[in-house]
């Protein structure tokens, strides 16, 4: 939805700046008078929420880094120093930890919204791919950050996750030593994780800029999944969606504040308040909740032919994430929105249930019922993308899609509604 600029500099200085660096014009055309489909629902507010989350994470992270010591001997103590001595240090740390949790919650909703309304389809494939890249960067950053407090969970999460690279054939051990900077997770590992954690935050911010750029070329998708046909289908981003996003953000921040102030450790693991001990593994290792579905896939896969379960699990987990890149081409249906895809809609909700089931299975010991649930859900996860999505476009008869966003409301699509003012 590249549109003609409507920016009018209001002062001499604004005109002067506009002819040298049209940054105000860019901001105006992107976030003020940006034509946005007028039927966006609240599921579309998570992009803005995620942006604010990222800002909170970066600002609180920079503040934390002023007091944190990335050294195996001092890291744990420096986190306690932050909790006890630093002014508002407890707030900064709880804000950082809980915001990252809520960041994942928001990103999962954001992704499922894209899946449900077909936001990844032509012409928004690059937008989707950038989003998957952001998701992978988030996973990496969250993992690296979780290691920094250097508690028991930090240490053993680092050990378990880095050991996944040990399945690389022939050079696995060398890769591990290179990642660790030693013969196991130790001081050098912590040091480089800190450096990379800091780096990734700004890489994410950079890709977010590309993500928004790629969004602003075709413009937003919408719940009907049909293209904008003209000005009658859009409203300016400001004030309509700044207000809507602002309200959703307010609700989101209230939930975040409840976590920070009333249950700051509810999403964490108590074992991480025990200093890292390379000689003792905690009885039950679980990742943070947002990694549980992938953790379940990792452990669900048995030996497959000549591939041992360990290797197969790693491959399956990576495939589960990297499959998302191919989504725009795995989905063979031309209809974007699930509103008009009766079959897809059902498979979509089964997919959501499978993801939640995987999350539950990931939190349990991989045996009995949990293992069975994990295996069935893993099968469905892959079948959904690799079998159901390609087939549905062929066998499904979509409901009739409206001609335009305005038409169901306004009849002809351009006439003004009458008699309503609210």
């Amino acid at each position: 939805m590249a549109h003609a600029s409507t920016y009018k500099p209001r002062s001499g200085f604004a005109r002067w700046l506009d002819s040298r660096l049209p940054i105000m014009r860019l901001a105006h055309d992107s976030f003020v008078d940006f034509p946005t489909p007028k039927n966006l629902n609240y599921w579309w507010t998570f992009g803005g929420i995620l942006s604010v989350c990222l800002v909170i994470l970066i600002v609180s992270g920079v503040a934390l880094s002023m007091h944190y010591t990335p050294h195996a001997d001092f890291a744990f103590a420096s986190v306690e120093h932050i909790m006890r001595d630093v002014n508002y240090g407890w707030l900064l740390r709880y804000m950082h930890a809980n915001s990252s949790s809520m960041f994942f919650l928001a990103v999962y909703i954001h992704m499922l919204r894209g899946l449900y309304y077909g936001s990844y389809k032509e012409p928004r494939e690059v937008l989707w791919i950038l989003g998957v890249m952001l998701f992978i960067l988030m996973i990496a950053s969250a993992f690296l950050g979780y290691v920094l407090p250097w508690g028991q969970m930090s240490f053993w999460a680092a050990t378990v996750i880095t050991n996944l690279f040990g399945v690389i054939p022939f050079i696995g051990d060398e890769v591990l030593a290179w990642l660790w900077g030693g013969f196991g997770v130790d001081g050098p590992t912590l040091n480089r994780f800190y450096s990379l954690h800091y780096l990734l935050a700004f890489l994410i911010a950079g890709v977010v800029v590309l993500h928004i750029w790629a969004l602003h070329v075709p413009g937003n998708n919408n719940p009907k999944g049909i293209d904008v046909k003209g000005p009658q289908d859009t409203i300016p981003f400001h004030p309509y969606y700044t207000v809507k996003d602002g309200f959703a953000l307010g609700v989101f921040l209230i939930v975040l504040a409840l976590l920070i102030f009333y249950a700051p450790n509810i999403l964490g693991h108590p074992d991480n308040y025990i200093p890292a001990d390379p000689l003792t593994t905690p009885e039950h290792i679980v990742p943070e909740w947002y990694f549980l579905p992938f953790y379940a896939i990792l452990r669900a896969v048995p030996d497959i032919l000549f591939i041992p379960a360990k290797t197969a699990g790693v491959i399956a987990m990576l495939l589960a994430i990297f499959t998302l890149f191919l989504l725009p081409w795995l989905d063979s249906s031309k209809v974007r929105s699930a509103r008009y895809r009766p079959l897809f809609k059902q498979f979509f909700w089964i997919f959501v249930i499978a993801c939640v089931a995987l999350g539950w299975a990931g939190s349990q010991s991989p045996e009995g019922m949990a293992l069975l649930v994990a295996r069935i859900s893993t099968l469905y996860y892959f079948a959904f993308f690799w079998v159901i999505m390609p087939l549905l476009g062929v066998i499904e008869t979509p409901k009739s899609v409206p001609d335009s966003i305005s038409k169901p409301v306004l009849g002809s699509g351009s006439a003004a509604a009458s008699g309503t003012s609210g």
């Binding site: 630093v86 002014n87 508002y88 240090g89 009458s418």
Partner: protein, 181 residues
């Protein structure tokens, strides 16, 4: 939509809408401003730093004529047990002619104890007080960086430094003990 625009221009709703707009923006703005405070305050001295904000000094082992250096808030502080001659010299200096006029009485609580921050007021070097030679022309301290001379009251007498050596806040806990800070 078209009608809504017309209404906005004419009806008293405009006032209510303006009020809501300003009120919402104000609440959000004030909230954002207040939530900035923790990010600013986190850079202030932490509790463990503040716990070390004061330094207790036992004066009893310091002999007459001797100067010791103690650390207070990360800075060197000189504690000098002055001799009678030094006290006399400090009290008889021509105050009005000094670059930074101050009487000795204003700089000490007890005549025999001079307590000053050992940081040259010129550019932050640490003035020395070597009993044999390097104590400057006025018997107090000499700054090796740019040659400032301080007297037995820590006052600047000669050289580029603009002010006297600072006297830190301190109090006598008892006759032989002071608490700096």
């Amino acid at each position: 939509m078209a009608e809504a625009h017309v209404e906005e221009d004419q009806s008293p709703d405009t006032d209510r809408r303006d009020f809501l707009y300003i009120a919402t923006t104000a609440v959000a703005g004030i909230g954002a401003a207040i939530s900035l405070w923790p990010f600013i305050d986190q850079m202030n001295p932490t509790a463990n730093v503040q716990a070390l904000a004061t330094t207790e000094v036992d004066l009893s082992p310091i002999e007459t004529g001797q100067t010791i250096k103690v650390v207070w808030q990360g800075k060197p502080v000189y504690v000098r047990h002055r001799t009678q001659e030094q006290i006399k010299a400090a009290q008889s200096a021509p105050v009005d002619d000094l670059p930074d006029p101050e009487t000795d009485a204003d700089r000490v609580q007890q005549d025999q104890w001079l307590i000053v921050v050992g940081i040259c007021t010129h550019l932050g070097c640490i003035p020395v007080s070597d009993p044999d030679n390097l104590r400057g022309e006025f018997g107090g301290w000499f700054c090796p960086c740019h040659g400032s001379h301080y007297d037995d009251s820590g006052r600047i007498r000669k050289g580029p430094a603009p002010d006297n050596l600072a006297v830190p806040p301190y109090q006598f806990i008892d006759d032989n003990k002071i608490l700096i800070g």
